[in-house]
Symmetry: C2
Subunit: 367 residues, 2 copies
């Protein structure tokens, strides 16, 4: 039995089989970035100190992962209360378990000062219009091709995301595809603004140029109406790679919405997937990731059993109260790191690394 | 002794050691694309039916490699006399030896309808101005980072290029870096227009904003003045990857100019390099790739011993007379394919595949 700091949160048997397959393997990390105008609706996103700055968050996250510091903004992305991006967790995992990392532009307004893959994505509009994305079909096709190429010399792919406002668009996309997502998507806020999200999603669905049936039959129509630009990019990448290798979908309820797209567009890829997330997501009482994945299929959920409780830093301890929770693939890449190291790296090593990076980045921000 | 259809054209002993290292390994192929206004000077480039269309050639080549057909143009790129792009050779190698392929945008006017890496490159100006590139330092830094990432899960990287007008800019860059390139760069024309190239290069050098000494000391200044956008991108990629893995620089005299940049910017990477090219380049009487590489260092030249003489198609037979000769990494990827297959794939298998693709693509073009 492989021992690692992982919680088998759903479909334990399939989860253990998945762990068996990737145990000791070196993964590749891909982070898909995007912007949606939806993030600028007051109260929707905590992925930025003020709504307007959320355009910079994904690019800044990618820079953080590549350089250990951001270039397009001073300091690092923070919540309105000053808590730093979960990218610090991802960055720490990449330091502990060296693996290739690539950013993919699903559609951003602000581009990172790093190399990244271009796949013809454009930034997303406010989903309340019902006309959120320009050409998700083209983005999906490019990403599918890219996923297939990346699978050719990789044993395991980890796909994360950074997009502010993404749980609101996830709810809308799930509803459009015919899933019950109400009250189930998570939030980077401690108090999950479910009623605001539902109101936004329903307004978008009412304005969609497609019928309910059309959107249920075609996930690309669903996200064209009410999705965000991360979705078709991540779905294509996951579907293309999972035709041949195991893929860890690194995220919470946003990635569950991407998984629903994969089910509709490439059902044969589902058997090669696991959702990799954090303890804070699977233990969250204000959302229900299992309840979403259960509607999609028997895909295992593996949660990194991270514990920031012992930290002396308030900005990290607060994760235990449910702020931030997940993002930038933090949970899934932690899972991948634990498994790649055959359990040698676990919650303690991660907390040490995260604290080291936290101290260093906070000292930069104070300068 | 490993047997393959390869000509050891320079530094045979080092070449055999290099072959030993990559024998049986699966490489990754990266093709760096760019555009330079220099290609539009009449008489400079045969990489397009007319000078104006050379902007489309690199994007069309990348599409050909990904889809087996072009999207941004009808048919495939051809010379003014209708001979198809050497991308057909590259495409054939990729079919015979499946490997991951990635395009990198060094700076193009026309983007391919495929995934590709963005590294903040911009199209190049006419080198006669002495102000050819905007920010080669930034492009080099991004490409260096990318090369390092790509090396993490690869055993061998093959780096090719597609840029029309590239041998003229290669000559100018070599001269700027203090190398004797006159009469030594090759041409896609049968009659190599050396005097035109020299005249263009000298005009650019005369207008450069840097002194001779500055450009000799810093390859990035040299290419900023008279280089093309493929160069800093390919140099960074090669230098970054070759810090840890063997790299085949797939091209002729253009790649020799990139090699000169690598020597100046990352001399420790030189020991991990081989130039991989075609028989038509190393046997060309109107150019001298050995004479350039000799000035750089003891880097082996491996030439794919391709033979299109037995072909029934005039458009392929003419390669034996020295038209086209090389491009889109054709020679280097052929070398990589021969070595990866442990010699099982050779000149005969390549000719069969190239003829098959030629017939198919010509039939599309006639429609």
């Amino acid at each position: 039995m492989h021992k690692a700091d992982i919680i088998y949160a759903f479909e334990e048997q399939a989860g253990r089989k998945f762990v068996e397959r990737v145990w000791g393997k070196v993964p590749t990390f891909a982070v898909v970035i995007g912007n949606t105008e939806t993030a600028k609706i007051p109260g929707v996103s905590a992925a930025g100190a003020v709504p307007e700055i959320t355009d910079f968050t994904p690019a800044a996250d990618v820079e953080l992962l590549h350089y250990g510091r951001c270039k397009c903004i001073d300091g690092v992305p923070v919540t309105p209360t000053g808590i730093p991006t979960p990218g610090i967790i991802t960055m720490s995992a990449l330091q502990l378990c060296p693996m290739p990392q690539f950013a993919i532009n699903g559609g951003v307004r602000v581009r990172p000062h790093t190399p990244y893959f271009e796949i013809e994505g454009t930034p997303g509009g406010d989903i309340r219009t019902g006309k959120a994305l320009e050409d998700p079909e083209r983005v999906y096709a490019n990403a599918l091709l890219l996923g297939r190429e990346m699978a050719k010399n990789n044993e395991c792919l980890v796909v994360g995301e950074s997009i502010a406002g993404g749980t609101t668009t996830a709810l809308a996309a799930l509803l459009a595809m015919g899933y019950d997502g109400q009250g189930k998507v998570s939030s980077s806020f401690i108090d999950n603004p479910h009623s605001l999200k539902t109101q936004i999603a329903l307004e978008g669905l009412a304005n969609a140029p497609y019928s309910k049936e059309e959107m249920r039959a075609d996930p690309l129509k669903a996200v064209q109406a009410v999705g965000d630009p991360m979705m078709p990019a991540a779905a294509g990448l996951v579907a293309g790679a999972a035709e041949s290798i195991p893929v860890i979908m690194a995220g919470g309820t946003q990635m569950a919405a991407v998984m629903a797209m994969v089910k509709g567009l490439s059902p044969d890829s589902l058997g090669n997937l696991a959702l990799g997330t954090t303890k804070w997501i699977v233990q969250d009482k204000s959302s229900d990731v299992r309840g979403i994945v259960k509607q999609i299929g028997p895909v295992p959920i593996l949660a990194a059993d991270l514990d920031f409780g012992p930290s002396q830093h308030e900005g990290l301890k607060i994760y235990e109260q449910g702020l931030v929770k997940e993002g930038v693939g933090a949970g899934g890449i932690s899972v991948a790191t634990f498994l790649s190291s055959r359990g040698k790296i676990g919650k303690n090593e991660m907390l040490d690394a995260v604290q080291r990076n936290y101290v260093q980045l906070m000292s930069i921000m104070r300068k």
